[in-house]
């Protein structure tokens, strides 16, 4: 029955592969430190002072993480931690490179009293989040430590989560709903996915992703027998009973509803794919996949018709035909795109009209209104007047230009101009990497992601417990899908939607969630790879006596 799983387990010699893990970790360190050094050498002509702070900080953190893994999960898969550290380190190096405050030239200019513009890339902030992320990893590994006593204090293994399936599901929904609660929710870049907690912006959706996986796993593992065996057959399809499908559908519809209100298509796509894939793993029914894909088709069709979902509709249009939208384009009712970029007469005229209006308001003493009028984008204003939908493809196009600039080998870290791409440190960090590390670098990054995913899948196959199997499979696939949606978006393979690039993007929530994800995989791989407990037999016949 357990053909493949047994095979894999049989091949694993139940060896601790900690030496291999340490060697790979060392390699990840060298990679990261070299990246920092290259940035400094290319940018300031010397090894950067930041090498010791940022690179050194990461080395210490990684070694702590390694020690935790050695102590609490000694049979863990040796690749997961080094891969995560390498990705996190490279991302940190790129953010360090983009954060002009870390440049020696700039510090000198600042000291000389020259005015410098601050930028949004924040290397020290990212280092702090890396610290928090790895601390969470260590904490998670410690909490989920392998003990013989499953009810030990503060012990919460992935398996324990099965007991709280519905609470976790509820928690996921709460997390998703938080950003639309007035007061703590915040809208950034057209997506309402943030909450403000004590001065920090947090994306609860990142954590909701993990909780949803746990919920789906717990629910499906209970119901999967019924769902896959009982049902009406219609032709080749076998439809599930309503009561099996019901609860899952409720959660799913609720998720998507929340996401449409939040206008975050990327996350919706991610949850959708996650849901369908886990259903398939649980039931082995292709019909589930087909129902899922059918639902997606309907959803997309509905979205394109809804007026208030213009945001999504235009992303699709931009993806197909970005050129006329550069720096502002206007999609008219007849499907034609009228460019309204700053070089067009429409834009110039609108600018003049708006300025005149603002001056009138000034003259009438309405200072606040005048200020607002001046803040209106002339392109958007002209487009709305013409009855079209305004959109801008400059982000996507500039990201593509960055990739084009990089070519096969890239410009070299510190030698390109990745800051010309908007959001070069977060959504578009993959394009920034592509510019400076080239095709070669991107292929390496993708391989690293693929390796994490495949190691996770291997863990799922090798897992003994069906719940953990589903959990590990779901978590791994979630990572794969997230990389696909965002990287596919910024390379124009699919329409662009906002998601973080795991471990690379600047941002605390994403780093924390992904480090927890790695911790879960590490712990589960430890479970799968450790020797099976031997039954104690004939206790009375042989006695081992210490002779000393």
């Amino acid at each position: 029955m357990h053909a493949l799983g047994e095979q894999i387990r049989a091949q694993i010699p139940y060896q601790r592969r900690n030496a291999a893990s340490l060697a790979l970790l060392g390699f990840a360190m060298v990679l990261t430190l070299a990246a920092f050094a290259e940035v400094g050498l290319a940018r300031d002509g010397s090894i950067p002072a930041g090498l010791f702070v940022y690179g050194g900080g990461l080395v210490i953190l990684a070694l702590v993480a390694y020690a935790a893994q050695l102590r609490f999960a000694p049979f863990a898969d040796p690749l997961l931690l080094p891969l995560a550290v390498a990705l996190n380190g490279l991302g940190l190096a790129m953010i360090y490179r983009l954060d002009l405050d870390t440049s020696a030239d700039r510090k000198a200019a600042e000291l000389a009293g020259k005015k410098v513009i601050r930028d949004a890339a924040d290397a020290s902030g990212q280092l702090i989040w890396t610290f928090v992320g790895i601390a969470l990893f260590v904490a998670a590994i410690a909490i989920m430590r392998d003990t013989s006593n499953p009810d030990a204090k503060l012990s919460f293994t992935p398996k324990t989560a099965q007991r709280y399936t519905y609470i976790i599901g509820l928690g996921a929904i709460v997390m998703l709903l938080l950003p639309i609660v007035p007061g703590i929710g915040a809208e950034i870049n057209g997506a309402r996915v943030w909450i403000n907690v004590g001065g920090f912006s947090v994306q609860p959706g990142e954590f909701a992703k993990l909780m949803l996986v746990a919920f789906f796993a717990g629910y499906l593992v209970n119901k999967r027998q019924a769902m896959s065996l009982i049902g009406k057959k219609i032709g080749p399809l076998s439809l599930p009973r309503a009561r099996d499908l019901g609860p899952v559908m409720v959660i799913w519809v609720l998720c998507l509803g929340v996401l449409f209100i939040q206008k975050d298509l990327g996350t919706a796509l991610l949850y959708f794919g996650l849901f369908v894939s886990m259903l398939y793993i649980a039931t082995q029914r292709v019909s589930w996949v087909m129902i899922g894909v059918g639902l997606l088709a309907v959803a997309v069709f509905v979205i394109t018709l809804l007026p208030f979902m213009a945001h999504v509709n235009q992303r699709i249009d931009i993806w197909q035909n970005p050129r006329p939208y550069f720096d502002g384009g206007c999609l008219m009712k007849n499907g034609k795109v009228v460019p309204v970029n700053p070089n067009t007469d429409i834009f110039k005229q609108a600018k003049v009209t708006l300025e005149a209006k603002a001056q009138q308001q000034d003259a009438a003493g309405q200072k606040a209104t005048a200020l607002q009028t001046r803040l209106v984008g002339p392109g958007w204003w002209a487009c709305t007047k013409m009855g079209g939908e305004y959109s801008d493809s400059a982000q996507l196009m500039k990201g593509m230009f960055a990739l084009g600039q990089g070519g096969v080998l890239g410009t070299g870290l510190g030698q390109g101009k990745p800051w010309q791409t908007p959001l070069s440190f977060s959504d578009f960090i993959f394009d920034s990497m592509g510019e400076e590390l080239g095709l070669t670098g991107l292929m390496t990054l993708l391989l690293m992601y693929a390796l994490i995913v495949q190691r996770g899948m291997k863990t799922a196959v090798a897992a003994r417990d069906p719940y953990l199997k589903l959990f590990a499979g779901g978590v791994s696939f979630a990572l794969a899908l997230q990389v696909f949606v965002i990287v596919g978006g910024v390379t124009k393979l699919i329409p662009l939607t906002g998601l973080t690039t795991p471990f690379l993007s600047q941002g605390g929530s994403s780093l924390m969630a992904n480090w927890i994800l790695i911790a879960i995989l590490v712990r589960m791989s430890h479970d799968a790879r450790k020797p099976a407990p031997q039954a104690i037999q004939d206790e009375g016949m042989t006695q081992i006596v210490s002779l000393r």
Partner: protein
């Protein structure tokens, strides 16, 4: 029931997602990179073009344009021009965009052209910066300098000159007064240069420094156009240089007005040989010849010389359109007005709406001097990559053959007669032959004074055309300039 199989399938699907991403990244960065880099919306390139030195533009062993580091971040490299005003009609300017050879050979000069990058594909692969190639012009710098000096001294208005090698079509001189110094608009001049360029570009003044009068501006060719009419007449009406033609008075058929001659004595007294009428430039002979031919034949015949098209000198470097229109658009009504009989007669003496660039007229003289053949004009001899390997070499080819070699031979005689006994006797001893032209441009404008011909007189090697605006006639206004230029050219 076991979940290994579906997990494995999902794992394979996840791998497929990654393969999709890898394929897309390869497609974008591997095969689309060039396209993305040259996208018009891509502002990276604008600063990029200043980051690497461009190749040199040379002529006759002299370096005319070269790049030097500015010591600044942007632009990293500036562009310098030797005697900018003299050579700008050929070199053009560069400031990100460009004109003339700087534009036509932009890719080679910048080192981004396929002909260079294919050679150094490995360097490109390992990320070495592009190295610009050098471009060598066919221009004779000494003659070009004399041409510019003489043109400037000859008039306070516009003037231009062109000299071509009749065997190859290589342009030896292409000079213009007014002109501009491309150093003033080079990248190192910053926004000031850009503003100056825009100001020069938008000027409504008659003198437009950016437009060179050698090939980018048209003037009425006046009597020098009789060379074309004579050639068409001899081909179509079976005349030869000794045919007796009427040279006396002529009334225009529609208005009944007289078509005046410049003088009534000599050959223009009543009848003369065609050669005599040509040498003394009798208007009535050629007015009548144009009427006999009709405007359509005149237009078609002139088209063989290059009239009616923007003549390609180099890629993206084309001349202004010379023309003998069969009708002209009326700007007020938008209808086209056909060229009538009177206008046809006046077209025959290079007036009315006939217009030509000096380059075009030099090509007319080239046909005469070269046995009826015009060679495709060009200005770039060869281009070399940084390692001196040749990446481009001009290959002379025939542009057209508007007349038989017999007609050409007779026309050579007729043009020699212009100097020996006709309107340009002041040029005797300068070893050139040609045809004068003095075109009226309206009451308040000065004449367009032409001298169009070839040299040396006996065994021609070069064809030339000079136009200069001012008072007086072509022989005095343009002849001496042409003689001085040709003296310099023929030294070689």
């Amino acid at each position: 029931m076991n979940m290994d199989k579906p997990v494995r399938r999902v794992a394979v699907f996840a791998l497929l997602l990654f393969f999709g991403l890898m394929a897309q990244v390869n497609y974008v960065q591997g095969s689309q990179a060039d396209k993305l880099q040259s996208d018009p919306n891509n502002t990276r390139q604008i600063s990029q073009v200043f980051n690497n030195p461009r190749g040199q533009i040379t002529a006759g062993g002299e370096v005319l344009a070269w790049s030097t580091p500015t010591g600044k971040d942007n632009p990293k490299y500036g562009r310098n021009y030797k005697d900018g005003k003299v050579f700008s009609p050929v070199t053009g300017y560069f400031n990100g965009g460009g004109s003339k050879v700087e534009l036509a050979y932009n890719g080679l000069l910048a080192g981004t052209d396929k002909r260079i990058t294919h050679q150094r594909w490995f360097d490109q692969f390992i990320g070495k910066k592009p190295e610009g190639g050098n471009v060598d012009l066919s221009i004779d710098p000494a003659a070009q300098r004399i041409a510019y000096e003489k043109l400037v001294n000859g008039t306070t208005r516009r003037s231009g000159a062109a000299v071509v090698d009749i065997k190859t079509g290589a342009i030896k001189v292409l000079a213009s007064n007014s002109s501009f110094d491309p150093t003033d608009v080079a990248p190192q001049k910053g926004t000031k240069g850009g503003q100056l360029l825009e100001q020069m570009d938008k000027t409504t003044d008659i003198i437009k420094p950016l437009i060179d009068n050698g090939m980018s501006e048209v003037f009425p060719p006046g009597s020098s156009f009789k060379t074309v009419v004579a050639a068409i007449g001899m081909e179509e009406l079976h005349l030869n240089e000794n045919s007796q033609v009427k040279t006396g008075h002529m009334t225009l058929p529609e208005s009944g007005k007289e078509l005046p001659n410049s003088h009534d004595g000599g050959s223009c007294a009543g009848t003369a040989s065609l050669k005599g009428a040509f040498a003394e430039s009798c208007n009535t002979t050629f007015g009548q010849m144009a009427l006999d031919l009709g405007i359509d034949k005149l237009n078609a015949g002139a088209a063989k010389f290059g009239f009616g098209q923007n003549i390609r000198v180099e890629p993206l470097m084309r001349s202004a359109k010379s023309q003998v229109p069969v009708s002209i658009p009326d700007l007020a009504t938008g209808k086209s007005i056909p060229t009538g009989k009177d206008a046809t007669a006046r077209s025959g003496i290079g007036q009315e709406n006939v217009q030509a660039t000096p380059l075009q007229m030099a090509m007319v003289a080239e046909a005469v001097a070269n046995g009826g053949k015009i060679m495709q004009p060009y200005v770039v001899n060869r281009a070399t990559a940084k390692d001196q390997s040749e990446v481009y070499k001009a290959s002379p080819k025939v542009f057209s053959q508007p007349m038989s070699s017999d007609t050409a031979s007779q026309l050579r005689d007729m043009m020699r007669a212009v100097v020996s006994e006709g309107t340009a006797t002041i040029l005797q001893g300068s070893n050139i032959a040609g045809k004068t032209g003095t075109a009226e441009q309206g009451a308040e404008f000065p004449n367009a004074r032409w001298f169009v011909g070839f040299g040396p007189s006996d065994h021609p090697r070069y064809a030339f055309a000079v136009v200069s605006e001012g008072k007086g006639d072509g022989a005095h206004g343009a002849g001496p300039i042409a003689a001085a230029i040709m003296q310099a050219v023929m030294k070689k």
